[in-house]
Amino acid sequence: MAVSDAPYRASPPRARRAGPNPVWLAVAGAVICAAPLIAVAALAVFGGWTDYFEHIARTRLTTYVVNTLLVGATAAVIAGAGGTLAAWMVARYRFFGRGAYEWLLALPLAMPAYAAAYGWYDLTSAAGPLSFLPTVRGPFGAGLIFGLTFYPYVYLLAREAFAGQSVEAYDAARTLGCGPRSAFTRAALPLARPAIAAGLALVVMEALADFGTVVHLGAPTLSVGLMRAWAGEGSLPDAARLALILVSIAFVIFFLERLMRRRARQSASSGRRRPPQRVALSAPLSALAAILCAVPILAGLVIPLARLGWRAMHAPVARGLGEAAWNTVLLSGLSGMIAAGLGLSFAYALRTRRRRAAFAARLAGLGYAVPGAVAAVGVLGLLGWVQGGLDDVWRAATGGPFPVLLTGGIIALVFAYQSRFVAAAIGPSESALSRVTPTLDHAARSLGAKPMEVAWRVHWPLISSGAALAGLLVFVEVMKELPATMILRPFNFNTLAVTAHNYAHDERLGEAALPALVLVLIALGPMIWIARRITRTEAARREAEADLAERTGAGWQ
C-alpha cells in the first residue's frame, strides 16, 4: 500500500549533475561559430559600396537566385522520394540483403557532390558511354546530383522514424479499411513527416552551400556569385552581401526544420511503442526490393566512382597529389578532433541544464545553416579587422606593419570549419553523454572513485565512441568541403578537393579524377564505420526501449 497518492517520481527532485562543467567553453565555442556570421552581416552593411553589386543585381542576381531555388527544390524532391522509399523498405520489410543495405544506403555521404558531378557529366556528355541519356547539367542536373549524394540524410532520419514508430498506427489504419499503400500514406508517412522534413532541410542546406558541382554543371547559384565577387572582383563586402541573401534562404529552411523537429518530439511520445515486426517479402518482391535499394547506392556512389577510377587510369597523375592528400587528412583530422572536443564540452554544458548552455548550443547549431563560403568570408572579415587593429597598435609602437599572422592560415581554415561543422558534433556527443546518468556518477563516487577517476573509468568508456562518431562526421565533412577551403587556404596549400576542382575547372577531368577518387576512398572508411555504428546503436536502443516497456508495463501509460 502506498502512503501517498502523489504521482511516483522516478528520479530525485533535483538530480545534481557531477562531472566537468564547461559552460564557459561551450559559450566560447558558440561565439566561434556565430562570429563569422556576425562579421558577414557587419561587412554587408558597413562595407564600402562599389558599383559591382549594382551591376550584379541588374544582371546575374536573378539567375543566381532562380538557380539556387531550382537546385534546392530538385534536390529535395529526389532525395525526399528516394530516401523515404529506401527507409520504408529497410525499416518494414525483410528481403534479400536488407541487413547490408541498412548501412550501405548511407555510404553516398562519403561522395562529394562535385565528384559525383564529374563522373556523371563525363558519362552522359556527348563523348561519354552513356551519351544516349540526357546530359547531367544545368540546375536540374545539379539538383539530381545533390539528390543522389545527399539522400542519406533523409534516409537515416526517416528510417529511424519508421523503425521507431509504433506499428499500431499502421495496423489501426489497416483495420479501418486502408490498403497497404493508403495505410502508408495516411498513417505511417504523416508520423515520419517531421523526420523527413528535417532530412530535407539538411539536403537543401548542403545544396545551397555547394560550389564545385554547380560550377562544373553550369548552374551558377548564389554560392558561385559569392565566390566570383570575392575572387573575381576582390570585393569582400559585395561577397558578404550575396552571402547574406544566401544565408537568409538557408535560415528560412533551418527554422522550418526546427519547427518540424519540435513537432516530431510531440508526436513521438504518444501511445505504446511496440516496434514493428518486419514483413517478409515473397521471392520476386524480395528481389525487386533488393534491386530498388541498389539503385541509389549505384547512382550516388558506385557508378561515378567507377568512372573516376577509369578516368584516373587513363590520365597522368596530378602533381602534388601526395601532399594534397596529406594536407587533407591533416586538416580534416585536426578539425575532427577539435570538433569532437567542442562537441563534448557542449554536451557537458547542456548536462548542467543551464539556460546559458542551451543558448550556446542553439547558437552553434546555426552554423550548419551557414554555407562554407559564407563562413569563410566572415572569417576573412573578422581576421582582417583583428589584423588591422594589431597593425595600428604595432605601427604606433614600432612604425612598421604587424606581420601577417592570422589571415589565410591554417588557423583561419580550422576556424571556418568549426563554425560550420561543430553543430554536427554536438548531437552525437550529447546522445552519448545522455547514457551517463547522474546516478552513475554518484554510484561511482559512493564506491570510492575520485571525480577524475569517475571521468576515465565511467564517462570515457561510455562516451568515447560517441565522441569518435562526432569527430569522424566532421572529418568526412571537412574532407569534402570546397569553397571555404578555396577562400581561406594559404598560398600554395592544396587539398584533394581543391586539386580536383582546379583540374576539373581547367577541363582536365582525367587529372581531376585521381584526387577525387583518393578523397572518396579516404572518406569511405570512416563513413562505413559511421553508417554501421548509427545502424547498430539505433537498433540496440529500440530493443532496450521495447524490452523496458515490456518489463515495466510503462509503455501502456
Binding site: P13, T439, S446
Partner: protein, 346 residues
C-alpha cells in the same frame, strides 16, 4: 566489523533560499539493524539519503560516523571517502561493465585476481554467479537490483543506503528480493537505511522505522509500536488507514461517539483528536455502541472491510472477521477497542 553508529543531528539541506528540503533531521543508524525511512514522495527521504552519502552538502546540523565528522560545521567528507554503500533507485549499474566488473568496481586493494574472487563472492551472496559475465542490459530487473546490492556491499561499507530498491519490480519479485536483500544486509552486519514510500514494505523489512514528512522525521520506533502509538495524525496515516475523531478532554478522558478513552497528560477541556485503526472499530453484537449503516462489504484476505456511514454523515471503515455476514444496507452498532486507539493533540 564495526560497532560504531551513524549519527544525523539537526541536518538541514536547502535547494533554494528559504525552502528546506530537509530540516532538523535526527537519526541514528546502528550496525546490524535495518532502518526504514518511510514517507510520501517529496518528503525529503532521498535528500536525506543523499546527504548521508555525501552527495548533498548540509546547510545546517551534522552527520558523523563513530567519532568521525562526515558533514556539517564547514566539513564535507567526499562521497568516495565515506564508506557508504548505496543502492540507487535506478540501480545505476555501469552499462559498459559486466556484472562481475560492476561488483569489482569499488574494490580498491588487492591484485586483479583477488578482486575477481571478491566480486564472485559478492555475486554468490545474491545467487548470481551464473550471470557474472552478463552486461546490465542483459539482466532482468531483479538481477540488476541484486548486482547493485552486491556492488554496494563489496567494499564492506560501514553504512548501507538503499533508495527505493524494490520500486521498479513486480509484486511477486519484490517479496522475494526483500528476503534476499535483508538476508544479505544482516550477513554483512552493517547499519542499513532503506528508503521507501510503501508502509507494508517498511514494516516487512525494518527493525526500526523512521517516519518522514515535510522534510523532517516525525517519529522513530519499532514497526508495531509505531502502528499502535502514533504521535500525530500524520504519523498514523503514514503507516496505514485510520479514523480520526474530534474530542474534548473531560475527567481525564477523551469522549467520542464511539466511547471514552483515557487521555493522560492532556489538560481538562483540551481539544484532542482520537485516532482509531480499522481494527479498533468493532462491530458489536450487542445493543451498545454507535449506530451505523453498512455501505459496502469487501472481502480482503482473511477479513472483510466494511464501509460505514456514521450518524453524523461521515464515513468510516471497520475490519471484521471474514465470517461476518453484514451486507450493504444493514444497520450495525460500533464500539471501540482501546488497544487500537490513541489520543493525540489537536
Amino acid at each position: 566489523m564495526t560497532t560504531q553508529s551513524l549519527q544525523v543531528d539537526g541536518a538541514e539541506v536547502r535547494f533554494s533560499p528559504g525552502t528546506a528540503a530537509i530540516r532538523d533531521v535526527r537519526l541514528t543508524l546502528t550496525p546490524g539493524k535495518v532502518t526504514a525511512l518511510l514517507g510520501p514522495s517529496g518528503s525529503g527521504k532521498s535528500t536525506l539519503l543523499r546527504a548521508i552519502a555525501g552527495l548533498e552538502r548540509l546547510h545546517g546540523g551534522m552527520i558523523g560516523f563513530g567519532g568521525e565528522a562526515w558533514s556539517g560545521q564547514g566539513a564535507h567528507l567526499a562521497p568516495e571517502k565515506r564508506r557508504c554503500g548505496v543502492v540507487f533507485q535506478d540501480y545505476a549499474l555501469f552499462p559498459h561493465l559486466t556484472a562481475e566488473k560492476n561488483v569489482a568496481f569499488g574494490l580498491r586493494s588487492g591484485s586483479r585476481r583477488e578482486k575477481q574472487t571478491a566480486a564472485m563472492e559478492g555475486l554468490a551472496r545474491v545467487e548470481l554467479t551464473h550471470r557474472a559475465h552478463a552486461y546490465p542490459h542483459e539482466l532482468s530487473g531483479g538481477e540488476q537490483q541484486r548486482v547493485a546490492l552486491a556492488r554496494a556491499l563489496a567494499p564492506r561499507p560501514a553504512v548501507m543506503l538503499l533508495d527505493e530498491p524494490f520500486s521498479g519490480l513486480d509484486r511477486r519479485l519484490r517479496a522475494e528480493l526483500r528476503e534476499t536483500t535483508i538476508a544479505a544486509l544482516r550477513a554483512a552486519g552493517t547499519a542499513a537505511l532503506i528508503v521507501t514510500h510503501d508502509a507494508d514494505e517498511a514494516m516487512a523489512v525494518a527493525d526500526e522505522i523512521a517516519l518522514m514528512a515535510s522534510g523532517t522525521i516525525i517519529q522513530t520506533g519499532a514497526p508495531d509500536r509505531l502502528y499502535l502509538e502514533p504521535v500525530s495524525e500524520t504519523a498514523a496515516r503514514l503507516l496505514g488507514d485510520m479514523e480520526a475523531f474530534d474530542a474534548t478532554v473531560a475527567a481525564g478522558e477523551a469522549l467520542t461517539a464511539l466511547g471514552a478513552l483515557p487521555a493522560p497528560g492532556f489538560a481538562e477541556g483540551a481539544k484532542v483528536r482520537v485516532l482509531v485503526r480499522p481494527e479498533g472499530i468493532v462491530v458489536s453484537g450487542g445493543p451498545d455502541g454507535l449506530e451505523a449503516e453498512v455501505l459496502n462489504r469487501r472481502p480482503s484476505g482473511g477479513h472483510v472491510k466494511l464501509d460505514l456511514r456514521l450518524p453524523d454523515g461521515r464515513t468510516a471503515q471497520a475490519r471484521a472477521a471474514i465470517t461476518d455476514t453484514h451486507a450493504s444496507g444493514d444497520r450495525v452498532r460500533l464500539t471501540m477497542d482501546p488497544r487500537f486507539a490513541r489520543v493525540v493533540a489537536f
